[in-house]
Symmetry: C2
């Protein structure tokens, strides 16, 4: 269990469509979310907290903005999949591609990237260092917990990685940002979780104007 190492929680925060997708079909290096309706993402781009994560200071405030800002609080490390870093099929051009996130990525923590290809750590601006882990999800989480100390670890995504961590019983809390769109295909959250399925308890409901934020605790 997560409590065995450190006191922080292992958290997931994912936006999800009404039909259960976190990304659409035809994902690729130049289209990280695949084919999605614009509205699946634009609500987050409009938020003040989103602007702040990217070093700006403008945008909408309100309950949804508060929830998104909160996801960065008490956060000590982040684990993401190769595609979320900025992957694509085949090995990276090792010293030529620093991911999708620009010079100052919005993580502002050590980030542990699950991959099959070794690479030296990549220090970015604003406190983000990408560390590339080839030994699997347990090792990535252990290294993230060590880096986070008493603070929380976020499993950042994508959904395939989150599903692996849920299946392994390693997630303490998941918050879903339920976006009122249908995507119709792509990557699903909660897929491939073997029975007996983990139990969940509702922790909190926050109603934004468009997006609803449901937080659950895994009871394992």
């Amino acid at each position: 269990m997560a409590e065995a190492v450190g006191v922080g929680r292992v958290r997931v925060h994912m936006m999800i469509s009404l039909d259960g997708y976190t990304a659409g079909p035809n994902q690729g290096p130049d289209k990280p979310f695949g084919d999605i309706p614009e509205h699946f993402l634009d609500w987050v781009f409009r938020l003040k907290s989103f602007s702040e994560m990217h070093g700006l200071d403008s945008g909408e405030t309100g309950p949804t903005d508060d929830v998104i800002r909160e996801t960065a609080e008490n956060l000590g490390a982040t684990v993401i999949g190769r595609n979320m870093f900025g992957g694509g099929p085949g090995p990276w051009p090792l010293d030529a591609w620093n991911g999708w996130w620009g010079d100052n990525p919005p993580y502002h923590t050590p980030v542990f990237v699950l991959t099959h290809y070794t690479r030296e750590p990549l220090a970015m601006q604003g406190g983000t260092t990408f560390n590339f882990v080839t030994e699997g999800i347990d090792t990535a989480l252990a290294r993230a917990k060590e880096a986070a100390g008493d603070r929380d670890v976020r499993i950042g995504g994508g959904a395939n990685l989150v599903n692996q961590y849920i299946a392994a019983g390693l997630v303490d809390e998941i918050e879903l940002h339920i976006v009122p769109v249908l995507i119709g295909g792509g990557t699903r959250l909660f897929e491939g979780i073997p029975a007996p399925h983990p139990k969940l308890e509702l922790v909190r409901v926050v109603a934004g104007a468009e997006v609803t934020h449901l937080k659950y605790r895994f009871v394992q």
Copy 2:
């Protein structure tokens, strides 16, 4: 559009698991919801409104109970699929099987059952009459609207039928009762809806102790 006939709305209210299922695998005549965790249904059995629909007077009150009671308000007719009536593979034993719902079904309205087999209307206690419609979803809805007059029509389920009505652009409003369980397989809501997908607007969020009730309006 639904407004073309009558002034009532065409409404859907469905319980749905966190992984998007409205019923589990292995559904059958003696197992209408298939293999599901007990908790997917037991929250509704405990409600006072559920007891009342079945002629009893006990159970839990609160926001979830209010939402479930409200689903029956201003309701003039119901459309359901054959399986929800109490189907199964092959023709019914025509005069021997009155469905799953007992002598006093909880519908208390005319009910239009989509089926491939003709059958005389079946009048039950408490205001429910099952009418069997073989001409497809448009005819079933037209007959339900005629029966409902100014009141609303509920598309009762299952999800396969609801998906057909959504795909046809015939649903005005959908309320999801989001139950914090994973089912892992079975029947999914929002499947088979062709692109361009309908747009939805959040109407209301009600946070129950366990179940969250999200109501959306289709904007077509």
